[in-house]
């Protein structure tokens, strides 16, 4: 057999895993494909209807666009973290092939989630644009940067969750529930400046709130960034989380792989 470089092996393993994951997701049940679009859409329909009935829309931006810009990234981050958490368990039998490492599974799942979310986002985004909403993104560079920062943070958090779930399996349910409060506390469905300032000071510890707000600020021209929200904080959080996650991975890697 021809010798392959480590990079080549990693690349082919990740590619193989991505195809396998995709097949697992869409292969057998057609509902899998429907659900990825339906999930953000159902959120948008329900919340959009409520806001319409309350007629509380803000004049400076369209509420549905506002919702999409918060929901799509947030659901992507949630799925990355939760999928990474489950990836060790799901791929355990594959670690008998020595080329396949837990890290490959992490990368593969992140890529799969990113691809699926991007397609979903594009479909909804195009639909909104076609319907006549003003969906232009004011600062595409900052927008992309904020989204990728969120992915990097979620990747690290997901690995950390995977380590925790492997060490204490009972935590699994609790960890997957953490995204319920985060959904409400990250300003996904409402602008955070509606909340009392005394609460926001505490909420600002949550990096997802920063990320979502930064994405929106990059989208809308007249969106007022909440004071205290900054790229700097998210970058710091990402560095700390990445360091903790990769260190934990290095220490626990062989435990993850053993049957």
């Amino acid at each position: 057999m021809r010798l392959r470089s480590p990079l080549e092996i990693t690349r082919s393993v990740i590619f193989a895993l991505v195809l396998r994951e995709m097949r697992g997701r869409f292969g057998r049940i057609r509902l899998g494909a429907v659900w990825v679009i339906l999930e953000p859409m159902s959120h948008m329909i329900v919340l959009g209807t409520i806001m319409k009935l309350r007629s509380a829309a803000s004049p400076s931006y369209e509420f549905l666009v506002f919702l999409l810009m918060g929901l799509a990234p947030f659901l992507l981050y949630k799925n990355i973290v939760l999928k990474l958490m489950g990836s060790v368990e799901a791929n355990k039998s594959l670690f008998s092939y020595k080329q396949i490492q837990p890290a490959d599974a992490f990368f593969a799942r992140t890529i799969v989630e990113f691809c699926i979310s991007s397609i979903t986002f594009l479909i909804l985004y195009i639909a909104l644009t076609w319907y006549g909403y003003s969906t232009a993104i004011t600062d595409p560079i900052a927008w992309l940067f904020a989204i990728f920062l969120g992915i990097a943070f979620s990747f690290a958090l997901g690995i950390f969750y995977a380590m925790l779930a492997e060490a204490i399996p009972e935590l699994r349910t609790l960890l997957s529930l953490t995204f319920m409060p985060l959904y409400l506390l990250s300003g996904v469905i409402y602008p955070i400046n509606r909340l009392p300032h005394s609460i926001i000071d505490y909420l600002l510890w949550n990096p997802y709130l920063h990320i979502i707000d930064l994405i929106r600020a990059a989208t809308f021209k007249h969106y007022r960034l909440y004071p205290g929200v900054s790229f700097e904080y998210v970058v710091k959080c990402t560095i700390v989380a990445s360091f903790a996650a990769y260190a934990a991975y290095r220490v626990r890697k062989y435990r993850l792989m053993s049957l």
């Binding site: 393993v13 193989a16 396998r20 697992g24 057998r28 092939y97 020595k98 396949i100 792989m257 053993s258």
Partner: protein, 205 residues
């Protein structure tokens, strides 16, 4: 040639750390088929996992310049909802067998495993015998210097057994070898250190 240098391997259990090996060193000479013999739980499978690189020792090193297969007959890696063909494709991609080489492997496995139409059905619908035949055929489709066999020769009917013995005899002539746990202890005569002996052909298994 394998050189095992001072390896220690332990596992955590709810009752604390259990040592499987403590500072063992040995070398396996080249051009030999090796059978591992020992009581249940004495670490045969663990040693094979270590030699195959599927597991890593706590301390120490295993050095080899040969290619080693995954455990022959590994069925755990199959995804039930995917067809046998897609599972084979997955392993091909992992091992870098793409393009024409992949079609070659697919053809080989299809012929060898005798699955016929079932090759395109989901693996979850297979019987355990069919599953093992698929796994065995898949391992044989790749050319390794060493094959790791963990009590796998018991699979299949007599026809399949004959076929698998033939393929092993042929691989032996090509200086490819196997390391493994022989079935029902027929090789338990010459034993050294729980490791075993030279066998030119494995056809009496």
């Amino acid at each position: 040639m394998f050189e095992v240098r001072n390896i220690t391997k332990s596992y955590y259990t709810p009752r604390g750390r259990r040592y499987v090996f403590r500072d063992i060193s040995f070398s396996i000479p080249p051009d030999r088929n090796i059978g591992l013999i020992g009581k249940n739980g004495s670490g045969k499978s663990t040693l094979m996992r270590l030699l195959g690189g599927a597991d890593t020792p706590d301390r120490g090193k295993i050095v080899t310049n040969k290619s080693v297969s995954w455990p022959v007959g590994l069925t755990g890696g199959f995804q039930g909802s995917m067809s046998g063909k897609d599972n084979v494709k997955f392993v091909c991609r992992v091992y870098g067998a793409v393009g024409p080489r992949m079609s070659e492997v697919l053809q080989y496995v299809r012929d060898f495993s005798d699955l016929g139409k079932w090759f395109d059905e989901p693996v979850r619908s297979y019987s355990s015998g069919m599953r093992s035949r698929l796994a065995f055929g898949l391992s044989m489709a790749f050319d390794f210097d060493y094959y790791l066999i963990d009590e796998v020769m018991s699979v299949g009917d007599s026809h399949f057994k004959k076929k698998s013995n033939q393929v092993f005899a042929k691989k032996n002539e090509n200086f490819q070898h196997h390391l493994g746990q022989p079935l029902n202890g027929r090789h338990s005569s010459a034993v050294q250190l729980g490791l075993a002996r030279r066998e030119r052909h494995y056809n009496n298994v």
